[in-house]
Symmetry: C2
Subunit: 189 residues, 2 copies
Amino acid sequence: MSLPHAILTALLERPSSGLELTRRFDRSIGFFWSATHQQIYRELGKLEQSGLIRALPGPPAQGRRKEYEVLPAGRTALTDWVAEPQDPKPIRDPLLLRLRAAAVVGLHGLDAELRRHLDLHERQLAEYLEIEQRDFPAAKADTENRLQHLVLQAGIQLETFWVQWLTEALAAAVAEAAEALAASAPERG
Amino acid sequence: MSLPHAILTALLERPSSGLELTRRFDRSIGFFWSATHQQIYRELGKLEQSGLIRALPGPPAQGRRKEYEVLPAGRTALTDWVAEPQDPKPIRDPLLLRLRAAAVVGLHGLDAELRRHLDLHERQLAEYLEIEQRDFPAAKADTENRLQHLVLQAGIQLETFWVQWLTEALAAAVAEAAEALAASAPERG
DNA sequence: ATTTACATGTAAGGGGTTACATGATTTG
DNA sequence: CAAATCATGTAACCCCTTACATGTAAAT
């Protein structure tokens, strides 16, 4: 039940059309809750039917831009959701699973994947750090936008974790592969 | 497409019945890829139909224990999957989303949720550390079970991140609430 | 015999992903 | 007017979640 509330948050910050929302989900909000345009249009329909948002007046026609704003009931629903008890979901990471599988059937080139992921996470980390420097300079003390900054810091720290962990994992994988090679060499020679 | 490979990995380590798998998914494997028994039974059916696993011979009857083992085709499929290119999924965390929403509509008791999550992550971290002490003592050097240890370390580091971050977030939320109170007090008095 | 635990499943519904479809607007 | 782009939507599929259903084995 997160997507509708992500959309409500985005619309409260600024009334938008479906496509605009899609683009905003590619940037800031999408950094911790991604969504495709199909999801967004479907959800906008549901939210409008539920009376939580409404389309701003204008010429209602097929294929034409339609802008939405949050109704009081929508703000209430979001406020209720913010503090609602929700247990954290357990980790579910395919890469960790693949490493575990590699412990059973061997690496078979997983090290290349580790390198690729390391590169991707380094880029993401760099992007977050750029955003931090731009939007949260040390000057304007943390009293304003403190919560937004916290969210960004979570992203930065998570990416930092991945970069560090993948660096270790890569070293271990290379060592593992070297040992497997050394163990098989005598058999061949 | 991770669940079938999680099951193949588990079955390669030890042939099991559906219920046994369910229990193993509550422990080790479930720490980074959780699954319910309904998922597992359905997936076992698919894997058997695909010829990747087979039920061990025995009295086939309703409501009776059925044990599975991995066939050569299953091992091959798992090996192929291990190094297959798969992009990391973007972060998708409801708690971060809720903090972002709180930046717009206010905290409304989110601090209690932060405290609760902090407690849960502290427990999970303690459990991981116990497992590490038990299964990966410093004595037996890291050459054996190195990959399994890496996976556990990922869990430890991720939980450590959450504990640290939630501690900061909680402090910020309390400060934010105090400021909101101070700002509203003059209006009342 | 009844209850409890074990063990395997079915059904319904929600959310996400991918591919495709359609109308409107701009651009050459 | 033809093509590209903008904008909104449909359809099909898969996975996950929750609740429920069924049958067997062991315990009292």
